[in-house]
């Protein structure tokens, strides 16, 4: 019995950090806004944008060499980005330059 618990505990201990690493943050694209407009996550986490608007959008990091660029996300479509390095990433929609968001990645 004690042995079994020990094995169970070891398995639990192994699986917990794995779960923590696979974090996912959801952002809705709705009403021509990124909601929420600012999210914080850790390296290894994934951000998932869902386009709930009627019109297509993009999720494009600002800068000459964008860290991420979804290309056109159709209405009802999704885009995922897994953070590989820490930093603050401002992003916009290439189609609608008034739309702005920020992803802050921490170690």
């Amino acid at each position: 019995m004690g042995k079994r618990l020990g094995i169970g505990g070891a398995l639990l201990a192994l699986s917990l950090p794995a779960l923590a690493q696979a974090g996912e943050v959801e952002i809705a694209i709705t009403g021509m806004l990124f909601v929420p407009s600012r999210v914080e996550l850790r390296v290894g986490d994934t951000v998932r944008w869902r386009n709930e608007d009627i019109v297509p959008h993009t999720v494009t990091a600002v800068g000459k060499k964008p860290s991420f660029d979804s290309d056109s996300i159709p209405a009802g479509g999704e885009f995922r980005f897994t953070a590989k390095k820490a930093g603050s990433f401002a992003y916009t929609c290439r189609f609608h330059p008034m739309m702005k968001g920020k992803v802050v990645v921490k170690r």
Binding site: G31, M32, V55, P56, F95, H96, M98
Partner: protein, 182 residues
Amino acid sequence: MNKSTLFIALTLAGFAAPALAAPTDPEIAHIVVTANSIDVAAGKLAQEKSKNAEVKKFAQQMVTDHTAVNGQAAALAKKLGVTPADNGVSKSLNEGAEQNMAKLKGLSGHGFDHEYVSHEVAFHQAVLDAIDHTLIPSAQNQELKDLIVKVRPAIAEHLEHAKMLDAKLSGKSHQGHRKHHG
């Protein structure tokens, strides 16, 4: 405000006056489709005629977004079994659009860009006012009302985008056509 933009404003504002009967759902559907189609046509013309990268990009967006909205409107009309009904507002919008297109076809270069973009500002402002004061309050069917509510932020974004472009183009026109020796 030039003649054609004044015409749009008066058409949509006059329509919103309480003395006039509220539009029916089939009429609202027709107005939505008409307004979107007008902006798609103007956007296509701008994509052909403009040499300005930002104006072309904006025009592309108008074509994409207004085509998407029309697709949704057509799908909803079909689902609800509503046949869009032509009406005075749609007719006036089409007449105004014909005048605008005729004027734009006679222009080129910066003159074209400026006229196209300033007309887009007035058009989106008029549509936004019509959405708030006439279309949303008059729509009877909840799904039709919801669709218009959902479209509103896109129109508002287009208006801000057009205003930003208009300000940039106006800045250029103040320098005149001579080369600027900064």
